[in-house]
Structure formats: structure tokens, C-alpha cells
């Protein structure tokens, strides 16, 4: 055989072997239906540019499959069905995708608005709610069919349609959320049926940008962008009312530029204090969960974006806004000191702990990988290749109020 032909055959054979290796090592699309497995240790990683998610196994510290076709996932979030089988992924383009984690496929998908920011699932798993920017408001859907059952436009007292933020589920078939443009907090109660009774609290503060509820479902806190303070609703008190806490935490000082909004996420049930990001200050503010007064501050590496507590509550892992977004601070909630600071990778977007706090998964968007660290020793225990990873969500969220 002429030399050039032999070389060509070698080239083709090498190419085929390379393809074979790539095919074998790429997560396969479908789990065989006769392979029984649980879903309690599964999760998803959002691939924000590709519009896909990875289904991951936190025991194996590996990706199992990729599911594509979820639309614009550039600010995606997810909730899980009570049986931890399905993820409902809320995309920026108003898409809601119900993903079957066991078959790694899309069970249902709907585009329900022009621009959406997040969602929540009812305490009994029967309904999901989506908070929308465009049109502003909250829409509620049956969890099995994704048929719309309620549409709640967020028209504030000022008469303008508002973007909605900070949507969380509450016990008793209720949701709470804030109206960004109108400066209000609404609590929608579906316990009587599909027509909700909506309680509207107005003048709670300027530009509420996110909200969350404590793990007992009692205290709803909303961060304000337009002023230094946080709005607080004690949901066990009747009539429902919002009070201002941490007022003037900026002490009249010039705010630093905020290149990415902080988030109210990652709160855990333990201890008597909560660490929340300051806006325009490179600090976390420690709030006492009985008095709701400030009990201290932690100076951090940059503008905190997420302050995620380890499940035992003892340490809080913090990531930061651009341009200091390659670093993570670990804060001790007792001493309010940063006990560890390290560079995890370019553009750390999100962190999620395994349910009992053994590992923490960290997305490094511009490294195209998710890193897994030991949550006690900070040792790196694994990594998962992912295309521009952002949010990481584990199925254990299905068992928690407000998640």
C-alpha cells in the first residue's frame, strides 16, 4: 500500500478511536429503566449559555447525563417535586421545564412569560409559581400538566406593573414575594382554592431586590437596593405587617458600586443568627433571629452575592460580585471572622452543600467546571466538567420550606 494511503488509514483510525473515547466518557443520555436507583442524592447543574443542565450524583461526585433544550438559562433556578424525581427549571426567557431526573429527559415544558426570575413549589407539590419580570407578576401552574391556574399581575399602589422577586413558598399553600418597582410585599394564600387571597403590604422600602424565608417558614426578609435596610414580615403575627430592620446599616457612607446583585439564599435552620449581604459594602451583616437587630459584621473580600450556610449552620461560604468573583470566603458564625479565603476559579457563581454538609459544590463559570470540596477540611475532592456552569441545586431542597 502506498505510504500516503497507509498514513491516511492511521489518521482515520486515530480519529475513530478519539470519537469512541469521547462517546464513552460523555454522560449517556438515558438510564436504563431496569436500573433501580434513588434520587435523594441527585442534583442539577445549570449550563447557562448552552441552555442545558447536567444531572449530577453527589455520592459519585459525577455527572450522569446532560439534558438540552431548556431555553435561556442565564439566571435559572430550580425547585423539586416532593418525590425528588422531577426538577422544575425556571429560565430567564419565561420558560418552565419539568425534567425527569431518572430518565434524563424533559417531561413538560412551557413558555409562560417574556422574562422570568425564579419560582417556587407549593408545600404539597401540586402547584408551582413563577415570578416574572415581563409581564410583571406571579403565575401559578399545575405541577403535573403545567397548565396555568392563576395569574396575579403585580400592580402596586402606584398603578404600575412591577417586576416580582424573592418568591418563596410558605406552609399552608401560600407564597410570599416582593414587588421591585412598587416597593411592596405580597402574600398569596391558596388554601381556599384556585382564587388566592392576596395580602398586600405597601411602602416596605425602595427597590426590594430579593427575599427569602427562614427555614421554619416564619420570617420573610427582603433586601432593599434603594435604601439601607431590610424589610421583615413575621408570618406568625396577625395582621401581617412589614417592619424595617437594620435601618441605615450603611452609616451614611458612600456606597461602593455593585456589579452583581446580592441574593438571599442558602439559609439554614440552626443557630440564632443569620448572615446577609450588605449592598454597596464589602460586608456581611449578622442579624439576631430573635430580636432582628444587628449583632455584628464581617468584612469580606468583595461585594457578597451568595452567603450559603453549611447545613449545620456553623460556617457560611460566601462568593462575590465581579471583578472579585474568583474567591470564596468561609466565615465562622460564632466569631464572625473569615477563617479561610481561597481562589476557587474564575467567576464563582454558586455554591451548594450536600444535605448533611459533607461536601460543597462550587461552580467556576469561566473554568467550565464545578469543583467539589470537603466542607470541613476545604480539600478538593472532585471536579465535574460543565459548560459555563452557574446554579447548582440538589434534590434535598424538596424537603425544605421555602426551597
Amino acid at each position: 500500500m502506498p505510504k500516503y494511503l497507509r498514513r491516511l488509514c492511521v489518521l482515520i483510525a486515530s480519529g475513530m478511536i478519539a470519537l469512541l473515547i469521547a462517546w464513552i466518557t460523555t454522560p449517556t443520555a438515558v438510564l436504563a429503566m431496569n436500573e433501580l436507583r434513588g434520587t435523594g442524592d441527585l442534583g442539577i447543574v445549570v449550563e447557562r449559555s448552552a441552555g442545558s443542565i447536567l444531572i449530577v450524583d453527589t455520592t459519585k461526585r459525577a455527572a450522569l447525563a446532560r439534558v438540552e433544550g431548556l431555553g435561556d438559562l442565564s439566571h435559572a433556578s430550580a425547585v423539586f417535586s416532593p418525590d425528588q424525581r422531577f426538577a422544575y427549571v425556571f429560565g430567564r426567557d419565561g420558560g418552565v421545564t419539568k425534567v425527569d431526573l431518572l430518565t434524563a429527559s424533559i417531561a413538560k415544558r412551557s413558555i409562560q412569560a417574556g422574562n422570568a426570575i425564579g419560582g417556587a413549589i407549593f408545600d404539597d407539590g401540586s402547584l408551582i409559581a413563577v415570578s416574572n419580570y415581563e409581564p410583571g407578576g406571579v403565575r401559578v401552574f399545575a405541577a403535573d400538566s403545567l397548565d396555568m391556574v392563576a395569574d396575579i399581575p403585580a400592580i402596586g399602589a402606584n398603578g404600575k406593573a412591577s417586576k416580582t422577586v424573592g418568591l418563596v413558598d410558605l406552609p399552608g399553600r401560600r407564597f410570599a414575594y416582593a414587588l421591585y418597582d412598587a416597593g411592596e410585599i405580597w402574600i398569596a394564600d391558596f388554601s381556599a382554592g384556585a382564587e388566592p387571597a392576596v395580602t398586600k403590604l405597601s411602602n416596605i422600602g425602595a427597590l426590594p431586590y430579593d427575599g427569602n424565608v427562614t427555614p421554619d417558614g416564619r420570617h420573610y426578609l427582603v433586601g432593599l437596593f434603594g435604601e439601607d435596610g431590610v424589610a421583615h414580615v413575621d408570618l406568625w403575627r396577625e395582621p401581617l405587617a412589614a417592619e424595617r430592620i437594620l435601618n441605615g446599616y450603611g452609616r451614611g457612607e458612600e456606597k461602593l458600586p455593585v456589579y452583581k446583585m446580592p441574593h438571599f439564599e442558602g439559609w439554614t435552620a440552626s443557630g440564632d443568627r443569620l448572615l446577609i449581604p450588605a449592598v454597596g459594602r464589602h460586608e456581611l451583616i449578622a442579624v439576631d433571629l430573635k430580636s432582628f437587630k444587628e449583632v455584628g459584621r464581617v468584612v469580606t473580600h468583595g461585594q457578597p452575592v451568595f452567603a450559603v450556610a453549611r447545613p449545620d449552620g456553623r460556617y457560611v461560604w460566601v462568593n462575590f460580585a465581579h471583578p472579585l468573583n474568583d474567591t470564596i470566603d468561609v466565615v465562622d458564625i460564632l466569631t464572625l471572622k473569615v477563617v479561610h479565603r481561597f481562589r476557587a476559579g474564575p467567576a464563582v457563581l454558586h455554591m451548594e452543600f450536600t444535605p448533611r454538609g459533607r461536601d460543597v459544590w462550587v461552580s467556576a463559570r469561566d473554568d467550565d467546571r464545578v469543583l467539589v470540596y470537603d466542607a470541613a477540611t476545604f480539600a478538593k475532592k472532585g471536579e465535574i466538567a460543565a459548560a459555563k456552569p452557574s446554579g447548582i441545586f440538589f434534590t434535598a431542597r424538596a424537603t425544605k420550606i421555602g426551597q
Binding site: S74, N115, L207, K260
Partner: protein, 119 residues
Amino acid sequence: MSKRLYPKTRPSPSAAVLGLIAALAAMPAIPPVRGEEIAASARLSNLVRQDCGSCHGLTLKGGLGKPLTAESLTAWDRDQLAAIILDGVPGTPMPPWRRLLTEAEARVIADMLKEGALK
């Protein structure tokens, strides 16, 4: 022995490589500035899509921040956009990027947005 379909004498591979090197050497050198410009605009595109995109959307169709598609920006000229990028909009979440971007970079971004040229 199969019929030889190609001429017996043909350029050897080493001759071809030498020829290629000679051709490249004869080409005018790519000015280093142009190469840096390409890298800079790739970096700025990534910044706009990923970091500005936190508020304005990866596809620039908006989010907390306004849409930045070329169609949405027809009322603004490039210098106005560059000024907004550098100095922000006080009282709103749009921050001033002056500490992180030069005026030239802000103009490059403004041009890219006006042209709808972001990849």
C-alpha cells in the same frame, strides 16, 4: 501490483513544508496591535454577555436591567451609552464601570451594542 494512478515523481512532504515556511516568511507580519485588539474585543464581549448579562440577560433581552439589543438602543448614541457605562445611573442598580473599564473600552462596548455585534 495495481496500476500506478499518480506520477512517480511528486513533491516530497519535506519540500512542501519548506515551501510553506518560505511563503509565510514572505507574508507581511500581522501587526501585534491587531492581534491584541481581537483578544480585547473577545474579552469585552464575554464581559458584556456574562457579567453585564447578570442584569441585562445573556441574550441582552433584559432582566433587572433594560434590554441592550440594537433595536432597544436606537434612541441612544454611542457616546451617551459609553457615558452610562462609565458613570452608571445613580439611584438605580446600574453601577459606574469607570474603575474597571477605560473610556476606549466603554466606547468599544457601546459600538458593539449599537451594532448588535456581540457574539
